[in-house]
């Protein structure tokens, strides 16, 4: 039996290393290719070992492409998304769980509906609405002027904010908070707002951090919506800019080292975030399941 255990463990270890290799190999190849010259790569294929051109290629990403300003856009959009979701879903989930609404279930169902149909599926009409967000009000006969949020930071973030996942997660979390806490606060003469601020918020910090990390990563890695909702290069997000870099070669041969340098640069911020805030990310993903 001892023998089968060690052989089992050996196989487990083998599986894990294979998994790690599968995850790291593409990233490693991207980074190594980014350190070679375009001519070398076209001649001898992808690179497994470092070359002398990494700094040069990264500098080219910063001088020859719009990736830097696009990374700033990604940062703004991801932060807006994450902060917006944290605040709105905290308020919404609080009202749903602690304010005894008679039609709470209806509100919840309304918001839950958004989870089933993400923006990627309904991108065509969402684009039309975003290019004229006052239309529903105009349809109601209100005297409003037209406002287009296409190609703006806020327009890039809004469809992700108007989404129920955060509310759903926090609601599940709030329901695990003992109601006695609320009752005790009430007994001490605290109002709902006071309870929310002094008791619930500190308690929710880990959950909010988890939500924040998850939504920030989502905001950074979104593709279809930013692709259609931003038209100018200076308003595109980094991921869109990277994809355009790969397809807009025009009549030049593909510059793989530049692309790989850009891919590495674009993924640097979220990967650092993951490395540092690993705990929260894992907890956030686990929370989605509950």
């Amino acid at each position: 039996m001892i023998e089968t255990r060690t052989s089992f463990d050996r196989i487990c270890m083998g599986i894990l290393w294979l998994g790690i290799l599968f995850i790291l190999a593409p990233l490693w190849i991207a980074l190594m290719t980014a350190s070679h010259s375009a001519v070398d790569v076209m001649r001898s294929g992808l690179a497994w070992y470092p070359g002398p051109h990494l700094v040069e290629n990264v500098i080219r990403v910063f001088t020859d492409t719009r990736i830097p300003v696009q990374m700033f856009n990604s940062l703004v959009v991801a932060l807006m998304t994450a902060v917006g979701i944290c605040i709105l879903s905290f308020c919404t989930a609080f009202a749903l769980v602690f304010l005894n609404l008679r039609f709470g279930w209806l509100v919840f169902a309304t918001i839950f509906g958004t989870i089933l149909l993400p923006v990627d599926i309904r991108v065509v009409p969402t684009y039309q609405v975003m290019s004229n967000i006052m239309e529903p009000f105009a349809a109601l006969g209100l005297p409003v002027s037209q406002i287009s949020l296409v190609n703006t930071h806020i327009g890039l973030a809004l469809p992700a904010i108007a989404h129920g996942t955060g509310t759903f997660m926090l609601r599940q979390f709030f329901r695990t908070v003992p109601m006695d806490l609320a009752r005790a606060a009430r007994m001490d003469g605290a109002g709902a707002l006071r309870f929310m601020w002094d008791v619930l918020l500190p308690l929710s910090r880990p959950a909010l951090a988890a939500l924040f990390v998850l939504m920030f990563l989502g905001g950074w890695t979104n593709y279809l919506w930013p692709l259609v909702a931003s038209s100018t290069a200076d308003m595109q997000t980094a991921v869109v800019g990277l994809a355009r870099l790969a397809t807009d070669g025009d009549s030049r041969a593909p510059d793989f080292p530049l692309m790989m340098a850009a891919a590495s640069t674009v993924s640097l911020i979220p990967l650092t975030l993951i490395a540092v805030l690993q705990r929260f990310l894992v907890r956030g993903m686990a929370l989605t399941e509950k």
Partner: protein, 428 residues
């Protein structure tokens, strides 16, 4: 904040005496730089009007955004649209024909091949041709010479004979092209004087039907499939550079049929002396007609006051000047398209300069005699048809279906689009 721009623009128009207008364009890279330079030059040339030129990232994105902006009523007065969107715009009711607004402008100076594309059957010109290109034939002199070919091929028969020689000499990619309908059927049918759809490619009515499954077009497509099978012709994905024109730049492929706009980067990569640029090949015994103008043109949008329209006209007038056209040509490789610009090029003595190398053959093929079927393409949902054509012929080149099946499928699916387009605009 981007969404404040219309408000800010409004505030500025009322405050200053000058008229500010916006112009949307889709180009990127060196072409974008040339457009911005033209805007700046216009603004510097007078102080009555100011045009701010806003890039939209691509032709498709520009059109999409213009549609949304028009529906919301915050569109600019002047927009650049690409060739394939011509019919959508003509029927949109959102544009004013330039020949109506500016009846006195010298429209006759435009060479017919460039003008007819944007003109209705009864001679109403909708937009002003801007960045104009057409199809040309390029060869890599050194690769041909190495295989013992001295004369630049002129007919398809010669091209394929040269391709066989090149292949025997060990060239892995004798002739490269892509599966785009613009190259494969539009320009091909035009210069052979045949239509791709009835009703003169839709000029004479919305009830047109595709005819690419017959005649010389179908024959040529079958030939391409055979030549591909034989290893003489390669498509984008089969070249190391992943694109036919990049493969030419990299010296991988010996011959291509490509846009006149590509000359600049070929000359930069291989040297202007190392390549030839000539008229696109014909089949032996066929009469050469004009090719279509590709690229994009400038459209005046409805819903703006007189001052703004006047400012847009002034900008159009400026872009039409021979000097501005030559400036643009030199910077981009696009073609000058008025007789006066050509005359200026001739008299300036720069006609032989490398930056104008495409002007000669470009003008010759655009200016060749035409007929009713070589005016242009006037077919609905045409952008979608180009995708269908590419998809179906790709399957034929892969051997999944025969080329005749691919063409029949394209015709069937294309006709469905045309019928739906007809129904969409039936109310007009």
């Amino acid at each position: 904040m981007r969404f404040l721009t219309p408000l800010a623009a409004l505030a500025m128009t009322t405050a200053a005496h000058a008229t500010d207008i916006e112009f949307w364009y889709g180009n990127t890279g060196s072409n974008e730089k040339a457009i911005l330079a033209a805007c700046e030059a216009f603004n510097a040339s007078q102080d009555q009007d100011r045009v701010s030129c806003v890039g939209q990232g691509s032709y498709e994105a520009g059109m999409q955004k213009a549609i949304a902006a028009y529906r919301a009523g915050n569109h600019p007065v002047l927009i650049q649209f690409f060739d394939a969107g011509t019919l959508d715009l003509m029927l949109s009711g959102a544009v004013i024909p330039v020949s109506e607004v500016m009846p006195d402008a010298p429209w006759d100076s435009y060479i017919p091949g460039a003008r007819a594309y944007y003109e209705t059957a009864d001679g109403k010109l909708f937009s002003q041709p801007y960045n104009s290109s057409t199809l040309l034939f390029y060869t890599n002199k050194a690769m041909l010479a190495e295989a013992g070919i001295e004369k630049t091929p002129e007919t398809w028969e010669e091209v394929i004979a040269a391709a066989r020689t090149l292949k025997e000499a060990g060239v892995s990619c004798p002739f490269a092209t892509d599966i785009n309908a613009w190259r494969q059927i539009e320009q091909f049918a035009a210069r052979h004087g045949v239509p791709i759809a009835t009703q003169s490619n839709g000029y004479d009515g919305l009830d047109a039907e595709y005819v690419i499954d017959q005649g010389i077009v179908a024959q040529h497509m079958n030939n391409l499939a055979d030549w591909h099978e034989e290893g003489l012709v390669r498509f984008d994905a089969e070249t190391k550079a992943a694109k036919y024109n990049a493969a030419f730049s990299a010296g991988e492929c010996a011959m291509i049929e490509g846009s006149s706009g590509g000359y600049g980067s070929f000359a930069e990569a291989l040297g202007a002396d190392a390549i030839t640029v000539t008229l696109p090949p014909m089949y032996q015994g066929q009469t050469r007609h004009n090719t279509f103008v590709g690229g994009a043109s400038l459209w005046l949008m409805k819903g703006h006051d007189e001052a703004e329209v006047k400012a847009a006209q002034n900008f159009l007038d400026y872009l039409r000047t021979p000097e501005a056209q030559l400036e643009f040509t030199a910077a981009t490789g696009y073609l000058p398209v008025t007789q006066s610009a050509l005359d200026l090029l001739e008299s300036s003595g720069r006609a032989d300069a490398p930056e104008f190398a495409t002007a000669g053959p470009g003008m010759e093929t655009l200016g060749a005699p035409g007929n009713a079927d070589t005016r242009g393409i006037r077919l609905g949902f045409y952008v979608q048809f180009r995708d269908i054509f590419a998809e179906e012929t790709q399957r034929a080149y892969n051997g999944d279906i025969t080329m005749d099946e691919a063409l029949a499928n394209s015709v069937r699916r294309g006709n469905e689009l045309l019928r739906r387009f007809e129904a969409t605009y039936a109310a007009n």
